[in-house]
Amino acid sequence: MTMKTEQLIEAYFLNKLSADEVEELKKRLQGDSTAKADFIFQLELSKVLQENEKKKIKQRLQLLDQQSDSSKVKWWAVAASIAVLFAMAWALGLFTNTAQNDQLYATYFQPYPNVIAPLERSSNNRLSEFQKEAFQLYDQQEYEKASLAFQDLYKKEQEDYALFYLIVSTMGNKDYDKAIELFKQKEQWEASDFEFPAKWYAALAHLKLKDKKEAVPLLNEIKMSDHTLSKSAEKLLAELN
């Protein structure tokens, strides 16, 4: 294959050929069966790769449909949407390390309010004993026990709220690596009512581990959302820069 043919083939796959050059390539390939076979092989490869990516995205979106169909009707969706972050004197002052990320973590980390089973509400009747117990431990800041309870719940029910509170409890228990692992375990948070709260806590865990690179994209997503956490994310981002 000549140098020129090779260059033309390369440019063809980068979509950089003019109509005249396409004609020239065509002529050259017709006169050179080895080069033509090589070209067709590359053409087939590029088709294979495109088809594969298409299939992957299609499956991803189909999965997303299934997930959102099954999660949208759940009763805690309402609870999660009305949740507002309120202060709990918890993490403040817990961290004595003076590194910037640590300080920011300490300033911003508060356990997410228990929006599922506020203890004083009579609506508790619809909760199972397991759920009540997990949230009771959570409210009592018994995070190690709470995380075990939520883990059991999540295993049994596979519901987002359980995973979410498991993550926050794990962070309460200061196991940030584990918290991130749990967050990543769920491939698509997007269809979940806990999407932005989960991303918020994952970002904080990354910050705690001094991994700003991982935290920033998550915070950006929250910032661009309509969630109540958007403002907090914006503020935190500004402090990180």
Binding site: F13, L43, E44, V48, K58, R60, L61, L64
Partner: protein
């Protein structure tokens, strides 16, 4: 930076979570919008998913770098075209449609010589390649990165290294394809 451009930037970087976000944000509205063209909800969802794929690919391949309209308008116009095509296909007989389809893909060289069976073999062989080769070939043949861009993306020494690695990966793939 407004939200749509932020989304584009994220898609460009391959952030598929943003794709999910866009999909969920506009799906309902698209279902409503598309009722003008067909009543079959399954078709509409299918078309919307395919439109998302077009959007994603256009961004990934650098064909769409900025928007003249909103992201929603862009996405819906892809969908509208697809629905229009869908209706046409249903009205005409298959022969006509085939001719039309041929015309559209004629700018692809030697399209007619592409062999499905060989593609399946290539697909199987590709899976056996090493990580680096997979990445390099995907960047070139799927993302449309030129050698300079691949050099930067993969931290390679220079363009010649990229070039020689690319041809090594290709010939390895070819061998695997023959044996598969």
């Amino acid at each position: 930076m407004d939200k749509d451009n932020y989304y584009l930037e994220q898609l460009k970087n391959g952030n598929q979570k943003v794709l999910d976000k866009i999909y969920l944000t506009y799906k309902k509205e698209f279902l409503f919008f598309a009722k003008k063209y067909t009543q079959d909800e399954e078709t509409i969802v299918d078309v919307f998913q395919d439109s998302m794929i077009v959007l994603y690919e256009n961004v990934r391949k650098g064909k769409l770098t900025s928007l003249n309209s909103s992201l929603k308008t862009y996405l819906f116009s892809i969908g509208k075209y697809k629905l229009y095509r869908f209706n046409q296909e249903n009205q005409k007989n298959t022969e006509d449609w085939k001719n039309e389809y041929r015309e559209e893909v004629n700018d692809q060289l030697f399209e007619e010589e592409i062999n499905e069976e060989r593609m399946r073999k290539i697909n199987r062989a590709f899976e056996q390649l090493g990580k680096k080769c997979k990445q390099l070939l995907k960047l070139f043949y799927y993302r449309g990165f030129d050698l300079e861009e691949i050099k930067n993306e993969m931290n390679l020494e220079n363009k010649n290294t990229v070039k020689s690695q690319k041809s090594r990966c290709l010939s390895h793939l070819r061998k695997l394809t023959i044996n598969s």
